[in-house]
């Protein structure tokens, strides 16, 4: 940049600002170009990792992140179902479920259900329960949430906390939060049961979900 040009720009602050804006935009554009593919890859990995965890006990040989179907949940909301397949046969599904209010507001779960309608695993995606009291539903704080593994509607489980005559522990000092989670998991199972036929209908992997666009990213750690 010649002295003349800089001198000229100094006299015209508007132009100078414009020049900087242009330069910065170019820089950001370039940065986006270089990182876009990489970032998308990472996000896909995240989703896959999370689904693999949720469906760890379900044998599958596909990538559930790429095999989705959108289901109308009945109340105007659409739920994206991720399906795991073993040899082309659906062996289990995973989906996010927003439960009824706990102590501090709604609790969002990621539920994995095996082909036979039993819980593969449940993880809490987000909640606003009292720290140190209700947040034991988080797998990083306690193992309580693993109590759902392997349970189903037909396993003779009483879907309530002990205090209400059910099979699930409440934790010391808090009843409402576990009660809400138990209820939510129960609801999600009933939802699965109602939708089972449709979910398990043999369908080509690519035909249902919009590929490459995860509807929800159940990334671990987002509850923090």
């Amino acid at each position: 940049m010649s002295t003349l040009a800089t001198g000229g720009l100094r006299q015209r602050p508007g132009l100078l600002l414009g020049a900087f804006a242009l330069g910065c935009s170019a820089l950001l554009g370039a940065g986006d170009l270089v990182t876009r593919a990489e970032i998308r890859l990472r996000q896909a990995e995240d989703l896959r990792h999370a689904l693999d965890q949720t469906l760890a006990s379900v044998p599958h040989d596909n990538n559930p992140a790429d095999d989705t179907v959108a289901v109308d949940a009945g109340n105007g909301k659409t739920i994206t179902i991720y399906r795991a397949r073993q040899g082309g046969e659906i062996s289990g599904v995973a989906f996010n479920w927003v439960g009824e209010a706990g102590y501090g507001g709604p609790i969002t779960l990621t539920v994995g259900v095996a082909h036979d309608g039993r819980i593969a695993s449940v993880r809490v995606l987000s909640h606003s329960e009292t720290p140190g009291l209700g947040d034991k539903i988080d797998v990083r704080k306690s193992d309580w949430i693993r109590a759902f593994d392997g349970r189903g509607l037909d396993t003779g489980t009483r879907w309530a906390v002990r205090k209400d005559g059910g099979d699930f522990d409440q934790f010391a000092g808090a009843t409402i939060t576990p009660r809400a989670v138990v209820g939510a998991v129960h609801d999600s199972l009933r939802f699965y049961a109602a939708q089972r036929e449709r979910l398990l209908a043999p369908q080509a992997p690519a035909s249902a979900g919009r590929e490459g666009e995860p509807a929800a990213v159940p990334a671990k750690g987002s509850a923090s």
């Binding site: 800089t6 720009l9 602050p13 100078l16 900087f20 804006a21 270089v34 990472r42 720290p131 140190g132």
Partner: protein
């Protein structure tokens, strides 16, 4: 004292961003739940500080007074966005931990402050050194604050350091077993409390140093 030594002293102690200038309180309080988080935030901020210092210094003769703030904002937000994208692409795990806070770097007034007060008047070399020292000072302050909060709050030190620095640094992670933790310190009020006590401790040290200095001076006068 040479200017470089002055700059180093300023950044690390005399004019420390957090304890001396009390700038950048938003990231300071928001991200110091643990020493590791403080370290990560500090490092990201350091990168931005150095880049913005160099850029502002390079263009210091071009930038007209009337639009300088607007240009600084443009430059800094661009740098921050680039850092965000880069981390998301190649330091994805770290980005998930710090992701929420990286865009916050742009509101860290320490960066604007150094650009206005230092970089815009100096050559790029010394501006880079200043950015680096301010950044290191900031990082250290955040680590101390995070360390205190983490240690009192949950009885650990550098928890999850391996996630930030790689498995080789797992030895940093300390954990006090059977410590129930003081949740308050991890929550936002704990940030204020810890910061307040640390600032008070530093003030006390400075006051003592002043008393000592005045005493020795007094002796000198009396002796003469």
């Amino acid at each position: 004292m040479s200017e470089a030594r002055r700059v180093i002293r300023d950044g690390l102690w005399d004019n420390n961003v957090v304890f001396g200038q009390m700038l950048g309180m938003c990231p300071t309080l928001a991200t110091t739940g643990s020493a590791t988080n403080g370290l990560g935030m500090g490092l990201a901020t350091t990168v931005v500080l150095v880049c913005s210092g160099v850029l502002v210094s390079l263009f210091r003769n071009v930038i007209a007074r009337e639009v300088r703030i607007a240009i600084y904002v443009l430059l800094m937000s661009s740098i921050v966005t680039l850092v965000d994208m880069t981390m998301n692409a190649w330091m994805h795990e770290l980005h998930k931990v710090l992701g929420l806070f990286i865009p916050l770097i742009v509101v860290n007034c320490a960066i604007m402050g150094r650009a206005e007060a230092f970089a815009s008047k100096r050559t790029p070399g010394i501006a880079a050194l200043d950015g680096l020292m301010m950044g290191i000072g900031f990082t250290l302050a955040l680590m101390v604050l995070g360390g205190v909060r983490e240690a009192i709050g949950q009885g650990t030190l550098f928890a999850d350091a391996s996630m930030l620095l790689g498995e080789r640094f797992a030895f940093l992670e300390l954990r006090l077993d059977d410590y129930r933790g003081v949740l308050l310190m991890i929550l936002p009020p704990g940030g204020f409390l810890a910061l307040g006590f640390l600032v008070a401790a530093r003030q006390r040290m400075l006051a003592r140093a002043r008393t000592r200095a005045s005493l020795t001076n007094g002796d000198a006068v009396a002796g003469a």
